[in-house]
């Protein structure tokens, strides 16, 4: 059995609104990453990004025995961050996920937005977040780079799996009280493998080509990714236990919001019928407000970071 079973969500598992929403979010973030990467793109960078995408795809074939006949393999978001820096890593991981979906049906096409979000955005943001913090604390010593690699590998897998579980729960495919502990529990363990492999691989690269790894740490802090990373982790830490301690809570929300009825009702009835009466409910209103809040905060963070960076170059 493959251990990354649900890290690549197939088509049919996500409701149409969920798929659409994550397509929009991922597309926006990738376009933003594209702008940032283009800005710092020297001409050597393109072949490197193409080759790294191919290498991470190939490295995912390197499996290792976990226990009782199951095996795990690398996902690679953290390694991509360590070797390429955050913005290029988003693009490289996005390319890997796109090829897996388009060519190998590893993850669906309508679900591609969600998969991109989990692996290319959340995975990368989490990794960068950890790598930055630990290297600040450890002053970019060797142990700090290794510890950062381990932490980044672990957290990227763990948080990405929680986000995937939430997406499944909101779509009504898997109840939150089953999906969250199951996905989170399994991936907390798989993440250890990812973390150790990331650290070992980073160690090899650090020994042979220290400048490649150190280059990424030398760069000035990327506040926006930092912020998004912190926000996401805090949100999940608060939200995940809440969702799983109220059995079927999320599913109930999804039903109230009309996610599950979209299939039964014509699309054009969705907005007048469901959004306004639903808001009357306190829990629902809180969550809707929460989602809107996160979107706004993220937008503001991204905009500020952009304003700041363009201001500096002018």
């Amino acid at each position: 059995m493959n251990t990354d079973l649900m890290m690549h969500i197939p088509d049919g598992f996500l409701s149409a609104p969920t798929s659409g929403l994550f397509w929009l979010i991922s597309a926006a973030i990738i376009v933003f990453a594209l702008r940032r990467a283009e800005k710092e793109l020297d001409e050597r960078r393109l072949p490197m990004m193409g080759l790294m995408a191919a290498a991470i795809f190939a490295a995912q074939m390197l499996n290792f025995a976990v226990t009782g006949g199951t095996s795990g393999h690398l996902l690679g978001s953290a390694l991509a961050v360590i070797l390429l820096g955050p913005w290029s890593a988003v693009l490289v991981m996005a390319s890997v996920v796109v090829v897996q979906a388009l060519v190998f049906q590893d993850g669906g096409l309508l679900a591609l937005g969600a998969n991109l979000f989990n692996m290319a955005v959340v995975g990368v943001a989490m990794s960068f977040f950890v790598v930055r913090i630990i290297n600040r604390l450890g002053n970019e010593k060797r142990w700090a780079i290794m510890a950062g690699a381990f932490g980044a590998g672990w957290l990227s897998i763990f948080i990405a799996s929680l986000v995937a579980a939430l997406q499944l729960a909101v779509s009504g495919t898997s109840p939150a009280n089953i999906a969250l502990p199951a996905m989170g529990g399994i991936h907390a363990l798989i993440g250890i493998g990812e973390g150790l492999i990331t650290a070992a691989a980073a160690g090899v690269v650090l020994a042979a080509r220290p400048e490649v790894v150190r280059d990424q740490y030398g760069k000035k802090s990327e506040k926006s990714i930092w912020l998004v990373g912190m926000l996401l982790s805090v949100l999940l830490v608060v939200f995940a236990p809440l969702a799983s301690s109220h059995p079927d809570g999320l599913e109930w929300v999804a039903e109230e919001l009309g996610f599950m009825h979209t299939a039964r009702e014509p699309l054009f009835e969705l907005i007048p019928d469901y959004v306004f009466p639903g808001i009357g409910n306190e829990a629902l209103a809180t969550i809707v407000a929460g989602v809107i809040g996160v979107v706004i905060v993220t937008g503001v963070a991204l905009a500020t970071a952009r304003r700041k960076s363009t201001g500096k170059t002018v």
Binding site: F13, E43, R44, N63
Partner: protein, 271 residues
């Protein structure tokens, strides 16, 4: 991944009208097919059968052995069935079956069964359609199609480079795995000595690091080679051919049929 097969590229070279069609036409058809599958109501069996009929006839037209295409999607679907299994026991509707296991009683419900089978069917149709597309379309053509559909140039260039070197690096990864097996025996069965989890992880980490390191060095050589051939930081690609009026009409026609199917299904299976 495609489970250790030596032939990674799923494209199968045969002559058929489906192979010959423009990649953009096929991509649009796939997208329309998947969207209609996703938006169909749960339990709209007649509509599912219609979609399956369309898919199966395309599979037959493609001249690729039918069983091969079915097998490819079946391998992908099998583990996913387990994931949706709990849906069977979702409360709601009439109770169909009582199960007693380990002191816990599970009740299979009609609502659960409906949701379970609908999700499985939708997933099966989508995966099968995607399997067909990758068997009848070269990825190079998909790339041209994507750039014609507005996929960013830089991402397209990364994908093109990735595709070109993916198989070389995959073969390298496979050689590393073979070398590890040759030197260590088969690690970590229950009860076997050596090759525990930490050993495996350390060795695999070293392999991944080596693979990345070699790829970095290869990237430098690739850059030199590109430079020698006049690369100046700008990626130039041939412009994609304009779609003919006939092809555009085909896309619109497919979309209209799908829309009609959706509207009809919503009328019939409403509430």
């Amino acid at each position: 991944m495609s489970g250790g097969q030596f032939h990674l590229d799923p494209y199968i070279e045969v002559h058929s009208c489906i192979h010959a069609a423009d990649a953009r036409l096929k991509l649009s058809a796939l997208l329309i097919f998947m969207l209609s599958t996703a938006l169909l109501p749960a339990g709209a069996w007649a509509a599912y059968i219609l979609l399956a009929a369309v898919l199966f006839s395309s599979m037959l037209l493609s001249q690729i052995p039918f069983g091969l295409l079915l097998r490819r999607s079946f391998v992908l679907e099998l583990p996913l069935v387990l994931v949706v299994l709990p849906l069977l026991f979702k409360p709601g509707g009439s109770e169909l079956l009582h199960l007693q296991a380990a002191g816990q009683s599970l009740v299979m419900t009609s609502d659960g069964l409906l949701r379970f089978s609908s999700i499985l069917l939708k997933m099966g149709l989508s995966i099968q359609a995607a399997v067909l597309l990758s068997a009848v379309t070269r990825f190079e053509d998909v790339l041209v199609g994507l750039s014609g559909l507005g996929y960013p140039k830089l991402l397209n260039a990364i994908l093109a480079l990735m595709w070109r070197y993916m198989f070389i690096l995959a073969a390298e990864a496979r050689r590393m795995l073979a070398a590890r097996t040759a030197r260590s025996g088969r690690p970590a069965y229950a009860g076997s000595k050596g090759g525990g989890f930490f050993w495996g992880v350390r060795v695999t980490g070293g392999m991944a690091g080596t693979l990345l390191l070699r790829s970095l060095e290869r990237a430098e050589r690739v850059y030199q080679a590109m430079k020698a051939r006049g690369y100046d930081g700008e990626v130039r690609a041939l412009e994609a051919r304009q779609l003919s009026a006939g092809e555009k009409r085909k896309i619109v026609a497919m979309a209209m049929v799908a829309l009609l199917l959706l509207l009809a299904a919503r009328q019939v299976y409403r509430g």
